[in-house]
């Protein structure tokens, strides 16, 4: 079936992958930091930070997209600043799609990672400190590897969400073929025409296959990881 993909379908597929991967790669380090901070520290504003992260999940995606447009569009305050100083604009291009996807996926990435950090035994961090290891390295050598199943879990949720993101994307960066028309948007476009059902079905099958493939792959990764963490001997 994939052999008979149309060029524009391949384009949408690759774009989807590019957008999701970039969104994930950029969001993950930030998500890990935020999750760690939320898990280990109590400070004024802790609850607010947590709420802020979850907002994109609770607002209709269209609204999130619209807020992004207002803020980062070519005429938005931040958008203009970026454009004038860095010749960079996320609006109406794939970078913006990745940004929208990343923001929408962020709460889904943070939550499992935070739970995983909550579950890391502080006694192991103590042991690391007693062996002379600095806090930052303890984080990298002990806490993060032990939280890896959660990190992977969050990454999977986030990646899935990024691949399926629609509302915020179409509102923020519109539905431009080859630039921002991901599989999700292509599917929407197809469904918009009365005779687009066949095309829509094709795109849906592609989406589903991609989803299943990504999930099976992730499942494999998780299992490998658990085995390594639990120390199955070779």
């Amino acid at each position: 079936m994939f052999a008979s993909l149309q060029p524009n379908e391949i384009e949408a597929l690759l774009l989807t992958l590019k957008v999701s991967v970039v969104a994930l790669v950029c969001a993950l380090p930030l998500a890990i930091s935020v999750a760690y901070v939320l898990s280990r520290f109590r400070f004024p504003g802790h609850g607010m930070l947590n709420a802020a992260i979850h907002l994109p999940l609770m607002l209709p995606p269209v609204v999130t997209g619209y807020l992004l447009l207002l803020l980062l569009g070519p005429s938005g305050p931040l958008g203009r600043f970026l454009l004038e100083n860095f010749q960079f604009t996320p609006a109406f291009n794939w970078k913006g799609a990745a940004l929208a996807a990343g923001i929408m996926a962020f709460p889904l990435i943070v939550r499992p990672i935070r739970l995983a950090f909550d579950a890391v035994d502080p006694k192991l961090e103590q042991a690391s400190a007693s062996l002379g290891c600095h806090g930052v390295f303890t984080f990298l050598i002990v806490s993060l590897p032990l939280a890896l199943p959660g990190v992977l879990g969050g990454a999977i949720l986030g990646f899935a969400k990024a691949m399926g993101e629609f509302g915020a994307t179409i509102t923020f960066v519109s539905n431009i073929p080859g630039e921002t028309r991901t599989l999700s948007l292509a599917l929407y476009t197809a469904v918009q025409s009365p005779d687009g059902d066949a095309l829509g079905l094709r795109l849906m099958i592609i989406s589903i296959c991609l989803a299943i493939f990504a999930l099976l792959l992730s499942e494999l990764l998780v299992r490998r990881l658990r085995a390594r963490l639990e120390g199955a001997d070779v």
Partner: protein, 232 residues
């Protein structure tokens, strides 16, 4: 050889027609046309925010006015490129015409609902609401409506038989073989349905040519074939 390129932001309800016109335009002028479809509101806001659009085609006048008020389009270029009718459709199997009367409509709906585009968000819904109000049907039917996210979904609901009746554009009904028009709303019952198009403020020079092309005979033929009516 560098190809010229224009970007058209068009209301999603015109997907078919505009795609075909763009293809024709591309063949005749060797200008690449990039088509971007979404809801009129979404597009209007994006054009306002400086989207790289050359042409904006809206499904209703309100959003064009919105764009014009905010200086997103060149006001002198606004023109209507097509019109439409509002019709009541039922499944293809429905034999009879339906009177636009409360009783006969309620009778037809039964325990189910009347599908239409969302009267609050979608232009087709707004026209539908006006038409129903104009005919004194809004009050009695308000609780039996199924406002859909867009006209296509309303159309699909009728086509599949989820709802026995739906209010859609004539252009939608024309291309869906599984429905038939059981009544046409009198044009007087609602504001006239017209599709305005305009060149955006930052448009490239080729934009005007495409706008012109939309009013040409070839384009109008395609629009009529898709069920749009000529401008009065």
């Amino acid at each position: 050889q560098a190809q010229d390129k224009i970007t058209v932001f068009a209301a999603a309800s015109m997907t078919d027609a505009i795609s075909e016109i763009a293809e024709l335009y591309q063949e005749t002028t060797n200008t690449k046309v990039v088509l971007v479809f979404a809801g009129s509101g979404t597009l209007a806001r994006q054009v306002e925010s400086g989207a790289p659009a050359d042409i904006f085609i809206s499904a209703d006048e309100a959003w064009m006015t919105y764009a014009q008020d905010r200086g997103a389009i060149q006001p002198e270029t606004v023109r209507f490129i097509a019109a439409n009718q509002l019709v009541l459709v039922g499944p293809a199997s429905s034999a009879t015409q339906v009177d636009l009367k409360v009783d006969s409509i309620l009778d037809k709906i039964g325990p189910l609902r009347l599908a239409m585009a969302d009267p609050d968000t979608v232009p087709a819904g707004r026209y539908g609401k006006q038409a129903l109000e104009g005919l004194g049907l809004w009050q009695p039917l308000a609780r039996k409506l199924a406002p859909m996210e867009n006209v296509r979904v309303a159309l699909a609901a009728v086509a599949r038989g989820d709802t026995p009746l739906g209010i859609v554009y004539a252009s939608d009904a024309a291309v869906e073989p599984r429905v038939r028009v059981v009544a046409v709303f009198p044009p007087t019952s609602h504001a006239s349905i017209r599709y305005p198009a305009a060149v955006t403020t930052h448009a490239s020079t080729q934009a005007m040519a495409f706008l012109q092309f939309l009013s040409d005979k070839n384009a109008q033929t395609i629009l009529r074939a898709k069920g749009f009516t000529s401008l009065p």
